[in-house]
Amino acid sequence: MSETEKPGSGPASPETPETGGMARRDFLNEITFGALGVAGLGSAVVTYQYMSPNVLFEPPTRFRAGNPDLYPVNSVTFLQDQQVYIVRTPAGFYAVSAVCTHLGCITQWKPEDHLIECPCHGSKFKNDGAKVAGPAPRPLPHFSIALTADGELVVDKLETIRAEQVLKV
């Protein structure tokens, strides 16, 4: 390379645009960082997709709770695996979530107090999920409950229903 030529001195210098256009350096910079930006954005999207699992190994949310005759009238039965109470009143059946609406601890049915109680922060609920005491902001939700064609109870934890709805058998 010649030592006499300095950047910006010659008419054909790459640093100065001849007709008000873009300097070569700016053009290359923008092309490079533009391409890097597009590639970075694409990688972020693909990484997000990778990090969201397509298949989950979690217990199914819809489950069979057995024959209605298993549950005596005026009883609250805790299903450990599904974390649901099956409640039978003279009016019929309903399924109440056993997960406290405060911070997600698993509540316990206390037959002596006739209350559902949370061991973590002392929330108390009636057997229809209505809040009696404690920091829980909402009553325990009711899940949809129905009978299958062969006469078994089936509960769907993805579908919540109004507390007044009761399954008559």
Binding site: D26, T47, Y50, P53
Partner: protein, 248 residues
């Protein structure tokens, strides 16, 4: 256009930017040097390089290429760790899930595998090139030794990673490999026992190889790579060929 330049200029005036990078635009030799000294990632690099050592045939960028592959392997490996359990038989299922179920899982797995193969080739090529250039001669002896250890670390990383898919190939490769270890006189069987955490290639071996592959060996590699880069400049830069063209 000029907008990008003014944006950059405004960014440099930003208080957050100034608190991170401290210095303004690198316009003088002094501020350019300070920009390199004051940055944890750049301070491995020399402030000034000889033009000769920037030529492609000075290094063929084999060391940089090995390091680039190492970065690719770290990033893809960390992502693979999000889906992989080092347990029997879950490890094999996770590998299959990565191939067939997880979005881009097959891409990341193959990227990790192929980059690993390529890194072994690149590191060997780098070693041969440095050897034939005389890069092991004083004052570079120590860095040559660090490089040899890095080659071994690369091979151990490849070998420990080989067990993790927990398929037949992995199982028998580790069986054969650890039997080679046990042929060492006196201590061989003891080392094999410690390496496998037992007498068989089983759950303990899988967990041990996983920890070696994902924690121990990468930490050793990062540390040695740091020393390796830093010593290149402390030893006076790359070993470059004398210019013969001038004499002709």
């Amino acid at each position: 256009m000029a907008s990008a330049a003014t944006f950059l200029e405004q960014l440099r005036q930003n208080r957050v930017w100034k608190s991170i990078f401290r210095r303004g635009p690198a316009l003088t030799n002094r501020t350019r040097s300070l920009a390199v000294f004051g940055n944890l990632f750049l301070h491995f690099l020399p402030v000034k390089v000889r033009e000769k050592s920037l030529r492609a045939r000075a290094t063929y960028y084999l060391g940089s290429f090995s390091f680039l592959l190492f970065l690719v392997l770290v990033i893809s490996g960390v992502l693979l760790m999000f889906y992989y359990h080092p347990a029997v038989p879950q490890a094999y299922r996770d590998m299959k899930d990565l191939r067939f179920v997880v979005s881009s899982g097959v891409f990341l797995r193959n990227l990790h595998r192929l980059a690993a193969h390529l890194m072994v080739i690149a590191v060997f090529a780098h070693m041969f090139h440095v050897f034939y250039r005389g890069g092991y001669k004083p004052p570079h002896e120590f860095n040559w030794a660090v490089g040899v250890v890095l080659l071994l670390v690369t091979l151990f990383l490849s070998y420990t990673g080989y067990l993790l898919p927990w398929d037949q190939l992995a199982f028998w490769a580790i069986t054969v490999g650890t039997n080679i270890v046990s042929s060492m006189p006196v201590i061989g069987n003891r080392i094999r026992f410690l390496l496998l955490g037992g007498n068989l290639v089983g759950e303990n071996a899988l967990l041990r190889f996983y920890v070696l592959h994902c924690v121990v060996l990468p930490l050793v590699a990062v540390m040695l790579v740091g020393i390796h880069f830093w010593r290149v400049q402390k030893d006076g830069g790359l070993t470059v060929k004398e210019d013969r063209e001038r004499k002709e």
